[in-house]
């Protein structure tokens, strides 16, 4: 009889929001797609090969680590795919595939699983991989030549060859993205499409990227008002600002902390760009700020309800 039936027991609340980790990751992948299409448009089919091989390597290393750690497969939370895509987007268009493999290995194994996997990694795994190959293979990482003609990124021109400023493409081209640079970071328009999608799906705080980009803009304007738009639209400002400083795991939790994080990242990016030895500073600034995340969290805890002194 029905009456003898034992009903399901579970703790309250009995209704849950529909978002889960995998839906968040899936939406982030969707948001990254336009920039990938742009990469193929601007840099040819080899860009697609880089992206796909990067994703495949990341999945393989993830499975390998799962096997070694004797844990359940974690591929299905899709985070390794995002790592793969983000990592590929920060590579120059002619990078050899074996370097991609090395970078993916560092990203997944050293960047993520050495700390305990998703949720425990202090650094953004994609950026760990990128930073490693940036230092290990500077020759390959600095090669932005297209069709045999050597060319430099606008940021390199501004930093090292100021006499060639006229070689920098027009601002419209910089916004559209068809100029030498890392494959996924050149197109501002396509990255903004991803931003809009993430904001509409409520996965990221819309103000964090804006704050970051504004900070970089204001700082650059103070130093070099003439080329401020080039500083803004070139390099990884939009890719980093939209997809990396909004990464949940490696950035502060508190609303105030997120703001501090974004502003500090912007300041550091500009500091590295103007006074460091590298023309680009997004990667290292975010990695450095990742390090400060626990500290920021500790000092920006919200004032609890009812703890105000009367």
């Amino acid at each position: 009889m029905q009456e003898e039936k034992i009903y399901l027991i579970s703790p309250a609340p009995h209704i849950r929001a529909t978002h889960s980790i995998s839906t968040m990751m899936r939406d982030t992948i969707f948001a990254l797609v336009p920039a990938g299409v742009g990469a193929v448009m601007f840099f040819g089919m080899y860009a697609l090969i880089i992206i796909i091989s990067s994703v495949i390597f990341c999945i393989l290393f993830e499975i390998l680590v799962n096997f070694l750690r004797k844990q359940k497969p974690t591929v299905f939370d899709l985070s390794c795919i995002i790592t793969g895509i983000l990592f590929a987007y920060t590579l120059p268009p002619k990078i050899p595939i074996w370097i991609v493999a090395v970078g993916c290995f560092v990203a997944i194994v050293f960047g993520k699983h050495f700390y305990g996997g998703l949720g425990h990694n202090p650094f953004n795994p994609a950026l760990v991989g990128r930073a490693f190959i940036h230092i290990a293979f500077p020759q390959n990482m600095g090669d932005f030549s297209i069709n045999g003609i050597s060319s430099a990124t606008p940021l390199t021109i501004l930093k090292h060859f100021p006499q060639q400023v006229s070689d920098i493409p027009s601002i419209q081209t910089l916004i559209w993205g068809n100029y030498p640079g890392c494959i996924g970071e050149t197109s501002v328009v396509l990255l903004l499409l991803g931003y809009l999608y993430l904001v509409i799906r409520k996965h990221i705080n819309p103000f964090v990227p804006i704050l970051y980009i504004l900070t970089v803009g204001i700082f650059s304007a103070i130093i070099d008002i003439k080329n401020v738009l080039i500083y803004l639209f070139c390099g990884g400002i939009f890719l980093g600002g939209i997809f990396m400083i909004t990464d949940p795991v490696t950035t502060p939790i508190t609303p105030k902390g997120k703001i501090i994080f974004a502003i500090m990242c912007g300041l550091l990016t500009c500091t590295i760009r103007f006074w460091g030895s590298y023309p680009e500073g997004v990667c290292f600034s975010i990695l450095f700020m990742n390090l400060l995340t626990p500290l920021i969290d500790e000092y920006t805890i919200c004032k609890k309800f009812g703890h105000r002194k009367i």
């Binding site: 399901l8 609340p13 305990g116 949720g119 949940p248």
Partner: protein
């Protein structure tokens, strides 16, 4: 005006268009001795005794306790321990066999002109009538009405927010018994000497707002405040913050900021008790969920879910979860053999599944942005998991109001509020 955080679950208040109906008393009533916060009541009857409708069958034990009345006439069949719906363990109950005659004690509306009686006397009478907070917390009302002498109550808030999805009890009570609710509010204002009464309703209850607004036009010192629909708007502390922009200090009570909050159903019960002399024996509940027969019903306290299902012919095929209370804070029941208690605001029959798997916290910060107490649920959850009790206390475990917003929003599906309840229970057992 609002409070920090909160969530917007789908409200599912389908039953708000259904008038309140009566449910006949079943053959057996199961009256738990613990129908309130505080000490368990002491039974006044023995097995085999004949009791009348409205007769007191259990006495309050001490100050923070409450009395109990029989909603039917009949014989006391047994006093034994049966499963309690909210304590989730066996608890003593008086089982009364209904003789169907409904022979009643005479209800004397002695305090009809309550203005002419001393306040203490009315408070004692409310205690004798077994009135507790009907919003769900079941805190004895007479304790709330009797604040320490140094606390001055300025405002009495009638809480008609009902922010839990599905439930429509308060909504219906305000629509159909607005006179009684306002009168109950005036009684409370008289007892605590409050200068102002405020009826607070969420903006999704248009009909109730309309009715109450018309009613209080000519009533001095009572006003209506409409607040945003948001969970947990009806939580005492959040409500006070929304309406008066005052924060109840941590560990304190609303009376610390000069406010007294009563649910509108409680005010209705106070009206029945003071003006009509009827003790608390029945209450309005919502039946809702994935069933066809939904609505709002007056149910005698002690009616088991099984009897309600049988009386209304509810088709429970495919239902795999039965919840007493709302979906956010209610308690899932193992069987239909539990009964309605004073704090039961609804019974939900749901077709749902629950996946107990959860993942590592990915630090997305959603729980922090929805926590109405501005706590850090993610850290609480992680530290509880690792049994770091010092850290748990540092992150203000005891400030948690267990509203469940964090668990609701968590993308890693962590049962944060369940962990917090466990931690509170664990730390209590340690001391």
């Amino acid at each position: 005006m609002s409070f920090y955080g909160g969530i917007h679950p789908k409200d599912n208040k389908k039953s708000k268009y259904y008038r309140i109906e009566n449910i006949a008393a079943p053959q057996f009533l199961y009256l738990y001795l613990q129908q309130h916060t505080g000490k368990i009541s002491v039974p006044l009857v023995n097995v085999g005794d004949y009791v009348l409708r409205g007769q007191k069958i259990a006495e309050a034990d001490g100050l923070i306790s409450s009395t109990l009345h029989s909603p039917v006439s009949g014989k006391v069949k047994e006093i034994k321990e049966i499963m309690h719906p909210t304590l989730c363990k066996k608890s003593p109950a008086i089982i009364i066999e209904n003789d169907g005659k409904n022979t009643s004690v005479e209800f004397i509306p002695k305090y009809k002109d309550y203005h002419r009686f001393p306040k203490d006397e009315i408070i004692t009478y409310i205690k004798e009538s077994g009135i507790v907070g009907l919003g769900g917390a079941m805190f004895p009302t007479h304790v709330k009405l009797n604040p320490p002498k140094d606390k001055i109550i300025d405002y009495v808030i009638a809480n008609g927010c009902e922010c839990e999805p599905y439930l429509t009890v308060d909504d219906r009570v305000m629509q159909e018994y607005y006179d009684e609710v306002i009168e109950g509010l005036k009684i409370v204002m008289y007892i605590v000497d409050a200068m102002k009464g405020i009826v607070v309703i969420e903006d999704n209850k248009k009909e109730a707002i309309y009715k109450i607004k018309q009613k209080i036009e000519k009533v001095p010192n009572v006003e209506l405040k409409v607040v945003k629909t948001k969970y947990p708007q009806g939580a005492e502390k959040q409500l006070i913050k929304s309406v008066l922009n005052k924060e109840v200090p941590s560990g304190g009570l609303p009376m610390d900021v000069g406010v007294l909050v009563h649910n509108v159903s409680t005010l209705f019960a106070i009206y029945n008790c003071v003006i009509k002399g009827i003790p608390l024996m029945e209450r309005v509940i919502t039946l809702s969920g994935d069933i066809s027969r939904i609505g709002n019903f007056i149910v005698p306290i002690g009616t088991s879910i099984k009897d309600i299902v049988r009386f209304l012919n509810i088709d429970i095929k495919g239902i795999n979860k039965v919840i007493m209370g709302g979906p956010m804070m209610g308690v899932a029941q193992e069987s239909l053999d539990v009964s309605v208690i004073k704090g039961t605001s609804g019974i939900l029959f749901l077709k749902t599944n629950y996946d107990s798997n959860y993942f590592q916290c990915v630090r997305c910060g959603k729980c922090v942005s929805v926590c109405p107490m501005r706590l850090m649920p993610n850290f609480l959850s992680i530290y509880i998991e690792h049994k770091k009790w010092e850290k748990v206390k540092k992150y203000s475990l005891y400030d948690c109001i267990e509203c469940g917003c964090c668990s609701y929003i968590c993308i890693a599906k962590r049962p944060i509020v369940a962990q917090i309840k466990y931690a509170k229970e664990f730390l209590r057992s340690q001391n």
